[in-house]
C-alpha cells in the first residue's frame, strides 16, 4: 500500500482553522494601523471564526463526498519527513473511522461557532455574556482547538498524533478557565468555577497523555525498521501503517517485558488509561461534570460532542489497531468498566440537581456503550460503538445548546427551580423533549441505532460474560428514561412557576444551531446507511486482524 | 703573597668595623648618629669588596653609596627632624619583637653560612676590564634597562620633591 502524498484536501481541512487564526492575529496586529474600534475587531474576528469553521465543515463534507468507501486503506494522504533525526513524519491520512470523526468535528464546531455569537441585543448588562468578553482571543483559541482536534483525527503518525493531542488540550484550558463561570464556593464550602474546572481538566488529561507519551516511546523503540517519506531507511518508526503491519507480524509480542510485565500488556494499559481519561471511563470521569458545569455553552458543546470522542477514537486507532491481542486480553475489564459507566452514570444522573451536570453524567453513561461495544469485538458491536460515538456527537451538543438556551435567560440551571416552562416556551419544550427522546434511545432516532447495535453485538459475543453485561446495562435503558422524563416533568410540565414570567422563546441564533442538529438526528436514526458504508471497511480490517476465533 | 694570618686579621677588622657601624645605625637613639654610622657601614662594606678583590665594585661602592646615598640620607635627616623637637626623634618601639627577629635572622645566617660548601677561591685578578666586557656583552640589556630605571627614578624624585601645583592635596 503506497503511502505517497496524493491529495492536499485533507491538509486544507485540518489547517483552514489555522488560516482563520492567523487572519485574526493579523487583524489584531494591523488594528492600530487601520485605527479599528474594539467593536469592529470583535465583529471581524467573529466573522472570520465563523467563516473558518464553516470552511472546515464544508471541506469535511467534500472529503466525504469523494471518499472511496470500498477500500480500508488510507486516502487523501499527505506525508513528508518532519524530524529526520527521530524518523518523525508529518503524515496525515483518513480512513473510514477518521473521516467520520473529521466530518463530525466539522459539524459540531460549526454549531459551536454559531452558538458563540452574541445574543443579538437581548443581553442584560449585569450578566456579562461570555460571547462579549475578549472576543478575538476567544476565536483564536476556538480555531486553535478546532485545528488540534482535526489534526488528532487525521494524523497517522504516532508522534504527530501526540502533538495534536496536546495542541487540542491547551486552548480548552483557557476557554474553560477564562470564559467559564467565575470562581464560587459551592454549598459545602468547596471552591468551584471556571478556573477550578479548567485546572482539573488540564491536569487530569495531561496525566493521561504522559502515560501515552511513555507508551509512544516504548512502541517507537520496539518497532522495526521502515522506509521514510523521502525513501531513506529508518531504524525505528512512528508511522502507524508500518507499526500496524509490524504488530501483526508479532514484533511487539517478541519485545522484551518491562518491569516483568509483558510488553504488549503494559503498553496497552498505558495507552488505554491515557484514552480512558478522555472517554471518560468510570473511575476517571469526575472532571467531566465540573468541566461542563463551568464551561460556556459552545465549549461544553464541543467538549461533549468531540473531545470525548478523541478518547474512544484513540482506543480504536491505537489500542485496537496495534494491539488486537491486548483488547482480547483486556476485553473483560473494558466490558465491565463500560457497563459500570452505563449503569453508574445513569443512576447518578437521577440525583443531579444541575441540568448541565445531569447531561454530563448522561454523556458518561452513553460513552459507556462505546466501551462495551469495543470490548465485545463483534462486527455489530464495533459498528454500534462507532455509531454511538457519532450519534452522541450530534445529540449531546443539542442537549448542551438547549441547556444554554435556558441558562442564557434564567441564569440558573437548577432543575428544581423551574416548573411549567412549557407554557412560556412551547417551542423550546418541544425541542428539548425531542432531544431527550433522542438521547434516551427512542427507536427511529440516532441514539437507538448505536445502542441496539452495541447490545446486539455484545450479546452475540464469543465470551459468555457479555450476555450478562448486556442484561445489566440494558437496565440503564429504564433508568435513562426515568431521569430524562423526571427532568422533563420538573422543568416543563406541571403548574407554571411565576418566577419565570420574563422568559421568552428561542431566538434565531438558537434555532440556527438546534434545528439542523434535530434533522440530522432523525436522518441518522432512520437512514444510517451512508455512515455504515463509511466505517464498514475500516472495522472489517480491524476485525480481520483479530487473533483467530474471535471475529464474531 | 702576604701571610694568611695577617689577611685574616684584616678581614676580621673590616668585618667588625662594618658590623659595629651597622649596630650604631640600628640601635642609636639619635637619628644623626645613625646617619653618620651609615656612612661608616657603607665604608666598611667597600673595604670588604676590596678584600674580595672586587676592585671596581669597591670603587663604585665608594662613589655611589658613600658619596651619594648617605649624603642624600643626611640631607633627608637634616630636612625632616629639625622641627619637632630634639634630634632624638628616633625612638624605637616594639623592641622585643625586633630583637627576637634579629636574633632569629642571625641564627639563620649562621646556619646557612655553615651549610654552604666553601667554593674554591678564585684568583684575585683585576676585574674592571672583564666587567666592562660583561656589561656591554652578555649584560647589555640589563645595562640599558638600568639606565631607563635611573631616568624614571630621577624624574619621579624631582616631581615628588617639587610637590603639586596646588600644594599637597
Amino acid at each position: 500500500m503506497d503511502l505517497t502524498t496524493n491529495s492536499m484536501l485533507l491538509t486544507w481541512t485540518v489547517f483552514t482553522p489555522a488560516i482563520g487564526l492567523t487572519a485574526i492575529l493579523a487583524l489584531l496586529a494591523l488594528r492600530p494601523l487601520l485605527r479599528l474600534s474594539q467593536q469592529a475587531v470583535d465583529e471581524a474576528s467573529r466573522a472570520i471564526g465563523l467563516m473558518a469553521s464553516l470552511a472546515a465543515a464544508a471541506l469535511g463534507i467534500a472529503l466525504w463526498a469523494d471518499f472511496d468507501s470500498g477500500t480500508s486503506n488510507l486516502q487523501f494522504i499527505h506525508r513528508f519527513v518532519w524530524m529526520k533525526s527521530w524518523n518523525i513524519e508529518f503524515f496525515i491520512g483518513v480512513d473510514g473511522l477518521s473521516l467520520s470523526m473529521v466530518v463530525l468535528t466539522g459539524v459540531v464546531f460549526l454549531a459551536g461557532a454559531i452558538a458563540s455569537l452574541p445574543w443579538w441585543g437581548r443581553l442584560d448588562d449585569h450578566h456579562p455574556h461570555f460571547s462579549k468578553k475578549r472576543v478575538p482571543a476567544y476565536w483564536i483559541l476556538f480555531l486553535l482547538l478546532e485545528m488540534g482536534v482535526l489534526g488528532t483525527f487525521a494524523s497517522q503518525d504516532f508522534f504527530l498524533f501526540y502533538v495534536f493531542w496536546e495542541v487540542m488540550l491547551l486552548p480548552m484550558y483557557f476557554l474553560i478557565g477564562i470564559w467559564g463561570a467565575p470562581t464560587r464556593k459551592d454549598p459545602d464550602g468547596r471552591t468551584r468555577g471556571g478556573p477550578y474546572a479548567a485546572i482539573k481538566f488540564f491536569l487530569y488529561t495531561l496525566a493521561g497523555s504522559v502515560l501515552m507519551l511513555l507508551a509512544l516511546i516504548a512502541v517507537y523503540y520496539a518497532s522495526g525498521p521502515a522506509t521514510l517519506a523521502d525513501g531513506s531507511q529508518a531504524q525505528h518508526t512512528f508511522n502507524l501503517v508500518h507499526l500496524t503491519r509490524q504488530a501483526h507480524d508479532g514484533i511487539f509480542v517478541k519485545a522484551g517485558a518491562i518491569l516483568g510485565i509483558p510488553f504488549v500488556h503494559i503498553v496497552f494499559v498505558a495507552m488505554f488509561l491515557g484514552f480512558a481519561i478522555k472517554v471518560p471511563m468510570f473511575p476517571f470521569h469526575t472532571w467531566l461534570p465540573d468541566a461542563h458545569v463551568d464551561a460556556p455553552t459552545p465549549i461544553s458543546v464541543i467538549l461533549a460532542g468531540i473531545l470525548l470522542k478523541t478518547g474512544m477514537y484513540g482506543m480504536f486507532r491505537f489500542n485496537l489497531q496495534i494491539f488486537p491481542t491486548g483488547v482480547v486480553w483486556a476485553a473483560w475489564a473494558i466490558g465491565i468498566l463500560g457497563v459500570i459507566n452505563i449503569v453508574y452514570g445513569a443512576f447518578v444522573c437521577m440525583a443531579q440537581k444541575d441540568l448541565k451536570k445531569l447531561i454530563a453524567y448522561s454523556s458518561v453513561s452513553h460513552m459507556g456503550f462505546c466501551l462495551l461495544g469495543l470490548a465485545a469485538l463483534t462486527p455489530q458491536a464495533l459498528t454500534g460503538s462507532v455509531y454511538q460515538m457519532i450519534s452522541h456527537g450530534i445529540v449531546s451538543p443539542m442537549l448542551f445548546l438547549l441547556a444554554g438556551v435556558v441558562y442564557d435567560r434564567a441564569h440558573t440551571r437548577d432543575i428544581e427551580g423551574f416548573g411549567g416552562l412549557a407554557q412560556k416556551m412551547p417551542e423550546y419544550t418541544a425541542l428539548t423533549g425531542f432531544a431527550f427522546m433522542a438521547s434516551l434511545g427512542l427507536p427511529g432516532l440516532a441514539g437507538f441505532v448505536g445502542e441496539v447495535l452495541v447490545f446486539l453485538g455484545a450479546f452475540a459475543a464469543q465470551d459468555g460474560i457479555f450476555r450478562v453485561l448486556v442484561a445489566i446495562s440494558a437496565l440503564s435503558v429504564i433508568v435513562t428514561a426515568g431521569y430524562y422524563l423526571w427532568t422533563m416533568q420538573r422543568i416543563f410540565l406541571g403548574p407554571f412557576n411565576h418566577r419565570w414570567e420574563h422568559l421568552h422563546d428561542m431566538n434565531w441564533r438558537e434555532r440556527l444551531t438546534l434545528y439542523p442538529l434535530a434533522v440530522l438526528t432523525v436522518i441518522m436514526g432512520v437512514w444510517p446507511l451512508p455512515v455504515f458504508d463509511m466505517i464498514r471497511e475500516t472495522l472489517n480490517t480491524l476485525l480481520a486482524s483479530m487473533p483467530a476465533g474471535i471475529a464474531g | 703573597m702576604t701571610d694568611p694570618i695577617v689577611s685574616a686579621m684584616v678581614f676580621y677588622a673590616l668585618a667588625a668595623f662594618t658590623l659595629v657601624a651597622a649596630g650604631f645605625v640600628a640601635l642609636s637613639g639619635n637619628i644623626v648618629h645613625s646617619a653618620f654610622a651609615l656612612f661608616a657601614t657603607l665604608f666598611g662594606v667597600a673595604g670588604l669588596y676590596a678584600y674580595l678583590s672586587a676592585d671596581l665594585l669597591a670603587v663604585v661602592q665608594m662613589l655611589v653609596y658613600v658619596g651619594g646615598i648617605s649624603v642624600l640620607v643626611l640631607f633627608a635627616v637634616m630636612l625632616t627632624s629639625g622641627l619637632d623637637g630634639p634630634l632624638t626623634s628616633n625612638p624605637t618601639f616594639r623592641l622585643g619583637g625586633g630583637i627576637v627577629l634579629m636574633l632569629a635572622v642571625a641564627a639563620a645566617a649562621f646556619v646557612a653560612a655553615t651549610a654552604v660548601p666553601s667554593g674554591v677561591e678564585s684568583a684575585a685578578v683585576p676585574t674592571t676590564a672583564a666587567i666592562g666586557d660583561a656589561l656591554l656583552g652578555a649584560y647589555v640589556l640589563p645595562f640599558e634597562v638600568v639606565s631607563v630605571v635611573l631616568l624614571a627614578a630621577l624624574v619621579g624624585a624631582v616631581t615628588l620633591a617639587r610637590g603639586y601645583k596646588g600644594g599637597h592635596r
Binding site: R190, L203, Y204, P283, H285, T286, W287, Y344, F347, V348, C349, M350, A351, T378, P379, Q380, T383, A422, A430, L442, P443, V449, V452, L453, F455, L456, F459, A460, G464, R467, A471, L475, V477, I478, V479, G482, Y483, L485, W486, M488, Q489, F492, L493, G494, P495, V526, W527, P528, L529, F532, G552 | R94, G97, G98, L101, A104, V105, A108, A112, A115
Partner: protein, 782 residues
C-alpha cells in the same frame, strides 16, 4: 401440516399506510397552531382525519388484493436497508399478511372514528392542534408496529406507541398528577420493552450460534453458555441469522434446525422458552398484564378519546398481536404458552375483582380492559391465536364504544367522572345510553352480541386446550376465566345502572342549591372506603354492592333544570352509533363451528397459523361439552346482569350501603384492600421508584465525595508535598549556603585587624615568613 412457502407480492403503496398519519402529524405539529388560530378547529381536524382515513382506504385496498391473492401470500414493500451490518440484516420493509391486515384495518378504522369523535370532545381545547398531531403520530407508530417486517422495525413502532401514549396521557400537563401519570406509563412500558429487546437479542444470538448441521464427530454438546462447541474445525454454518419474522419462521419450519434450536438451553432453561418469556415480558408491559399493568388505570388521566384509542382498542393489543405474530416460537415451548395463558387468566380475574368497586367510570373501564386483555392472552396462550385476534377485534369495537360513551357522559356532566355523582342519564342522553347498554351486553357476553362469540370461544378453547402443563390442563384456566367473565358482566352493568338509571345525582342545577349542597356535602365527607359494600364471602360469591346512591336517592330532588347533562353533539353520537352497531354485529364474522355456520374469521387467519397448527393439541372434548359450556357462559352473563340490576337499578336496594357500613373488620378490611387496588401501586412506588432514587442519591453522593474527593485529595497531597519540599529546600540547602557565607565573613572580620597600617608590622611579617620558608627548606633538605 403442509409447508406453505411465504410468497411475497410487492405492493408498492404499503409504506403509505404508516406514512400518511405521519405526514398528518408533521403537518399539524408545524402548521397546526397557526391554522387553528386563523381558520379555527376545522383547519386542524380536517387534515388530521383525512390522513388516517387515507391510510384506512389503502389498507382496505391492500386487504382486498390480499384476499384475492393465493394462500400464504403477503403484501411486501421494501424501502431501504436500515441496519445491514455483518450477518444482521434489519431493513425498513412493511409486510401485510392476513394477520397484520386485520390489525391494520382495525387500527385505521377505529382510529379514524375516534379522530372524528375527538373533534367533538376536544372542541374547546386551546391545544386542539397538538392533540390531533399526537393522535396522528400514534397512528403512525401503531401502523409501523403492525406492519413491521422484522423485530427491530416492530420495536420502533413498539416504543413509538409508548412515546405517543406518554404524550397523550400527559396532554393536560398543567396538572402535576396527569404529567406524572404519563411518565409512569412510559417508564413501565420501557421496562416491558427491556424484556422484549433482551428476547430479540437472545433469539438473534441463539439462531446465530446454533450449528445447523448436526456436528459429525464429537458429542456436539452445547455448553451452558450456549457457545457452539460443536465443530472444532471450521465454524459450522449457523442456522442463519435474520430478524425478519417470515425468515425466522422459515428457519424453524425445517425439522432438523428446529430440533437443534429447541433442545438448546441457556442457564438451565430452554432457549426458546426463555426467548418467549422475555418477549412476553414485553407484551405484559405493553398490554398491561400482571405485573406491569399499574400504568393503565393511571393512564385514564389522558383525554377520553385517548383512552378509547390507545388504552382500549389499539396499543394495548400490541402484546396480543406480537404473541400471535410469533406463534411459531411460542408453540415450540408449551411452558411459555402455559405461562402466557395463566398470567392472562390471573390478570383477568385480578382486574375484574378490582373493577367491582371502582367509582370512577373510566377506572372501571380501564380495569375491564386489563381484564379483557387477560382473556385475549388466555386465548393466544392456549394456542387459539385466531380467537385471540377475534376477541381483540370485537373488544376494540365495544370497548372503544364504552370509553367514548363514558366520554360523552363525562362531557355531559361537566367533566365529572365519579359515577356516584351521575345517574338518570338514560332520559337525558338516550343515544349514549343505548350504545353504552349494547356495548355492556357485548362485553358481558349476551348471546348474539359480538362479545359472546369471541369470549365464549376463548372459554371453550381454554377448557379444551391440550398444551397447558397445569394439572387438569385447561380446566383451571376455564374456571378462573369464567369467574372473571361473571365479574365482568356484573361491574359493567353496575356502571351502566349507576350512570344511566335512577335520578341525576350530579351538582345539576343552581335552583336547588340546598339539595345539591346537601347531596354534595353528603358525597364530600364520604371517603372512598366507606361507600361500597362488599360481599364478604369469597370471590365466587355473587358480589353485589350497594351504590352510595341508595341512601341519598330517597330525598333527591326531582332532577333540577339548568345545566342538566345534554346529549353530545352528533360528531360524537354518530361514532357511538357506528361502534355500537359493530359491537352488536361484529361477532357474526366468527360464528362458532358448533353451529355449522361458516366461520369467516378463522378461515381468513388459518393460513397464517397453518405452519404451527399441528403443535396446538386439544383435550379432545366433544361437541356436547362445548354446548354445555356455551350454555354456562350465557348463564354467567345473565347472572351478572341480574345481580347488578337488582343491586343498582335506580339505586333502590339498600344492600350495597349496608354492606359497606357493616362493622365486621373482615368485610371492611377486604373492601379497603380491594378498593385500593391491593396496594400494588404503592408497593411498586416504594420498592422501585423510591429504591432507585435512594440508590441514585447514594451513588451521586459517593461520586462527588469519594471519587471526586480522591481527585481533590491527590491535588491537596501534591500541594502539601510541594510545600514540604519548599521548606526542606529553604532550611537545609539554603541554610548550608548561608552558613558558608557567614563563616567566611567572620573569618574576614578577624583577619582585618592584621591590616594595622604600620609598615614595620608588614615588614616584620614578611621577614618572619621568609624565615619560616628558609627553616622549612632547611628542614626538608635535611
Amino acid at each position: 401440516m403442509h409447508e406453505v412457502a411465504p410468497v411475497l407480492q410487492d405492493f408498492p403503496l404499503l409504506f403509505l399506510i404508516p406514512l400518511l398519519p405521519l405526514l398528518g402529524a408533521v403537518w399539524n405539529a408545524v402548521m397546526g397552531a397557526r391554522m387553528q388560530r386563523r381558520f379555527g378547529n376545522a383547519a386542524v381536524h380536517v387534515p388530521a382525519i383525512l390522513f388516517p382515513a387515507g391510510s384506512f382506504v389503502i389498507s382496505l385496498w391492500s386487504f382486498i388484493t390480499l384476499a384475492g391473492a393465493p394462500h400464504g401470500t403477503s403484501m411486501y414493500n421494501y424501502l431501504w436497508a436500515w441496519l445491514p451490518i455483518g450477518n444482521l440484516q434489519a431493513d425498513v420493509a412493511f409486510l401485510m399478511d392476513r394477520l397484520s391486515g386485520v390489525m391494520a384495518l382495525v387500527v385505521t378504522f377505529v382510529g379514524t372514528l375516534i379522530h372524528v369523535y375527538s373533534t367533538g370532545y376536544m372542541k374547546d381545547e386551546p391545544a386542539y392542534w397538538r392533540f390531533f398531531a399526537y393522535l396522528n403520530l400514534f397512528m403512525f407508530a401503531m401502523l409501523v408496529l403492525v406492519l413491521g417486517d422484522n423485530f427491530l422495525l416492530m420495536f420502533v413502532g413498539w416504543e413509538g406507541v409508548g412515546l405517543c401514549s406518554y404524550l397523550l396521557i400527559s396532554f393536560w400537563w398543567r396538572e402535576r398528577e396527569k404529567a406524572v401519570a404519563g411518565m409512569k406509563a412510559f417508564v413501565v412500558n420501557r421496562v416491558g420493552d427491556l424484556g422484549f429487546s433482551l428476547g430479540v437479542f437472545l433469539l438473534f444470538w441463539g439462531l446465530m450460534t446454533t450449528p445447523a448441521s448436526p456436528p459429525a464427530s464429537n458429542h456436539g454438546q452445547v455448553d451452558a453458555h450456549g457457545a457452539a462447541v460443536a465443530a472444532h474445525g471450521e465454524e459450522a454454518p449457523a442456522l442463519g441469522t435474520s430478524v425478519a419474522f417470515r425468515e425466522v419462521e422459515q428457519i424453524l419450519q425445517d425439522p432438523v434446525k428446529r430440533t437443534r434450536i429447541v433442545d438448546r438451553n441457556v442457564l438451565g432453561i430452554g432457549l426458546i422458552t426463555l426467548v418467549c418469556l422475555l418477549l412476553f415480558v414485553g407484551a405484559t408491559g405493553k398490554s398491561a398484564q400482571i405485573p406491569l399493568y399499574t400504568w393503565l388505570p393511571d393512564a385514564m388521566a389522558g383525554p377520553t378519546p385517548v383512552s378509547a384509542l390507545i388504552h382500549a382498542a389499539t396499543m394495548v393489543t400490541a402484546g396480543v398481536y406480537m404473541v400471535a405474530r410469533l406463534h411459531f416460537l411460542f408453540t415450540l415451548s408449551p411452558a411459555a404458552m402455559t405461562v402466557v395463558a395463566t398470567v392472562g387468566a390471573l390478570t383477568a380475574l385480578f382486574a375484574a375483582s378490582i373493577g367491582l368497586f371502582q367509582n370512577d367510570i373510566k377506572k372501571v373501564l380501564a380495569y375491564s380492559t386489563v381484564s379483557q386483555l387477560g382473556f385475549m392472552f388466555v386465548a393466544v396462550g392456549v394456542g387459539a391465536y385466531w380467537v385471540g385476534i377475534f376477541h381483540l377485534m370485537t373488544h376494540a369495537f365495544f370497548k372503544a364504544c364504552l370509553f367514548l360513551g363514558s366520554g360523552s357522559v363525562i362531557m355531559g356532566c361537566h367533566h365529572e367522572q365519579d359515577m356516584r355523582k351521575m345517574g338518570g342519564l338514560k332520559k337525558l342522553m338516550p343515544i349514549t345510553a343505548a350504545t353504552y347498554f349494547v356495548s355492556c351486553a357485548a362485553i358481558a357476553g349476551f348471546p348474539f352480541f359480538s362479545g359472546f362469540f369471541s369470549k365464549d370461544e376463548i372459554l371453550w378453547k381454554a377448557f379444551n386446550s391440550g398444551n397447558i402443563l397445569l394439572p387438569g390442563g385447561g380446566l383451571i384456566l376455564w374456571v378462573i376465566a369464567a369467574v372473571a367473565a361473571l365479574g365482568t358482566s356484573f361491574y359493567m352493568f353496575r356502571s351502566y345502572y349507576m350512570t344511566f338509571s335512577g335520578e341525576y345525582r350530579g351538582a345539576a342545577s343552581h335552583g336547588h342549591d340546598v339539595v345539591a349542597k346537601a347531596d354534595g356535602a353528603h358525597g364530600a365527607h364520604d371517603d372512598p372506603h366507606s361507600t361500597d359494600a362488599h360481599a364478604a364471602h369469597g370471590a365466587h360469591a355473587d358480589p353485589h354492592s350497594d351504590p352510595h346512591a341508595a341512601d341519598v336517592s330517597g330525598h333527591d330532588a326531582h332532577g333540577g333544570h339548568g345545566h342538566l347533562p345534554v346529549e353530545s353533539p352528533w360528531a360524537m353520537t354518530s361514532v357511538l352509533a357506528v361502534l355500537g352497531f359493530l359491537a352488536l354485529a361484529g361477532g357474526y364474522v366468527g360464528l362458532p363451528l358448533l353451529w355449522g355456520l361458516p366461520n369467516v374469521f378463522e378461515a381468513w387467519l388459518e393460513p397464517v397459523f397453518a405452519s404451527t397448527a399441528d403443535r396446538v393439541t386439544s383435550a379432545g372434548f366433544g361437541h356436547g361439552v362445548e354446548w354445555a359450556l356455551m350454555g354456562f357462559s350465557i348463564i354467567v352473563a345473565f347472572g351478572g346482569f341480574f345481580a347488578a340490576r337488582v343491586l343498582y337499578k335506580d339505586g333502590r336496594s339498600p344492600i350495597p350501603a349496608r354492606l359497606i357500613a357493616s362493622e365486621s373488620a373482615l368485610v371492611q378490611g377486604t373492601h379497603r384492600v380491594i378498593f385500593n387496588k391491593y396496594y400494588v401501586d404503592e408497593a411498586y412506588g416504594f420498592v422501585f421508584v423510591k429504591g432507585s432514587l435512594v440508590l441514585s442519591r447514594a451513588l451521586a453522593l459517593w461520586d462527588s465525595r469519594v471519587i471526586d474527593g480522591l481527585v481533590n485529595l491527590a491535588g491537596t497531597i501534591g500541594r502539601a508535598f510541594s510545600f514540604l519540599q519548599g521548606a526542606i529546600d529553604r532550611l537545609f540547602v539554603d541554610g548550608l549556603v548561608e552558613l558558608v557565607g557567614n563563616v567566611i565573613q567572620a573569618a574576614g572580620t578577624r583577619m582585618r585587624r592584621v591590616q594595622t597600617g604600620r609598615i614595620q608590622a608588614y615588614v616584620q611579617g614578611m621577614a618572619l615568613g621568609a624565615l619560616a620558608l628558609v627553616a622549612l627548606a632547611y628542614l626538608l633538605a635535611w
